[in-house]
């Protein structure tokens, strides 16, 4: 149970960098006067970010992961959150076993 000073410094640096990104939006928010088109782009931020984070594991890992992604996407059209997670996990185990 030790803390290396250099590691601690790195963690603090990461924490500050992260917090800056998290509160920067506060300063930005009031100043944006959005056109309908910009509003549409703004509304697209959530799905764009979520997809950008998972795309490597979904599309660039292997066929089993890509197939499980398709299964989860299909499940997402009719199942609640946890159901989609269950389908995705079961599918990836199954497809990996096949491959």
């Amino acid at each position: 149970m030790t803390v290396d000073p250099l590691n601690m410094l790195a963690i603090l640096g990461m924490a500050i960098a992260t917090y800056v990104t998290r509160i920067a939006g506060l300063a930005l928010a009031g100043r944006l006067d959005l056109s309908p088109r910009a509003q549409a782009a703004f509304d697209a931020i959530p799905p764009a970010v979520l997809v950008a984070v998972i795309a490597p594991s979904a599309l660039a890992t292997g066929w089993a992961e890509t197939a499980a992604t398709a299964a989860a996407a299909l499940a997402a059209t009719r199942l609640p959150l946890l159901g989609v997670v269950a389908v995705g996990v079961v599918a990836v185990v199954g497809f990996r076993a096949l491959g």
């Binding site: 998290r22 939006g25 549409a40 782009a41 931020i45 959530p46 950008a52 959150l81």
Partner: protein, 237 residues
């Protein structure tokens, strides 16, 4: 008073599936960090102070002795750059929050709780009780499981055997579905997914997050524009 409690409970009710999905991720993170020589205490401190899963995974990937501080901070900044847009989008919806509540609440804004808050804001007013009811158990869960992962470490075995590594991906797919708004979302998702996967392949992390997010926004901008052109004419007499 009772609405306060109701809102906090509703926050917990919304976050728990994400919390459950984060359990194997936290354990996996702790185990990987321990493999790079981080102590359980260091993992715990990182979870409590940084609280950013994607950035923490990338950092552990980069970690060495002595710690490459510059590279770690830059990678964290890049992966978390999306928070600027997320914060700008959620900030106007935090009307009932005091300044202190905003500053503390945003400290722990992560993809999952932010996405759920955005979803909630579409139909309800966001309250601090809801926000913190969602945040507190989620943060506690991340710190606990990642620390536990660092302690248990190698004894856990390969999380891929249980498909646990895919829980995160499946969870995000479900969250994307909650934001579905038809054609514009389709083009957003297609562009963001393709750009992110290609950037990951040919440039490498952490650039894929930035590239994917920006291409998704550009696609939404383009798709929304031609819809306006096509629909505006007959719709307005």
């Amino acid at each position: 008073m009772s609405t306060l409690w109701d809102d906090a409970r509703r926050g917990f009710g919304d976050i728990w599936p994400a919390m459950l999905a984060a359990v194997p991720i936290g354990l996996l993170f702790g185990a990987l960090a321990a493999g790079k020589g981080l102590s359980p205490l260091e993992v715990m401190i990182m979870g409590a102070l940084v609280f950013a899963g994607g950035a923490q995974f990338a950092a552990v990937e980069l970690w060495a002795t002595p710690a490459p501080i510059g590279a770690l901070v830059f990678s964290t900044l890049l992966i978390n750059a999306r928070h600027v847009l997320m914060g700008a989008s959620i900030a106007p919806k935090l009307q009932g929050f005091s300044r202190g509540q905003k500053l503390l609440g945003l400290y722990y804004m992560a993809d999952e709780n932010w996405a759920l808050a955005e979803k909630r804001a579409r139909t309800h007013r966001l309250t601090p009780a809801y926000w913190f009811g969602m945040l507190a158990p989620f943060v506690a869960c991340w710190i606990t499981t990642s620390t536990l992962g660092a302690i248990v470490g190698a004894a856990l075995g390969d999380p891929r055997r249980f498909g646990a590594d895919f829980a995160f991906t499946a969870l995000f797919i479900a969250l994307v579905a909650a934001f579905w708004k038809g054609r514009v979302t389709f083009w957003t998702v297609a562009a963001a997914g393709l750009a992110s996967a290609l950037t990951y392949r040919f440039v490498g992390p952490p650039w894929h997050v930035l590239a994917g997010a920006l291409c998704g926004l550009a696609a939404a901008w383009i798709a929304a524009g031609d819809r306006e052109g096509a629909v505006a004419e007959p719709a307005k007499p």
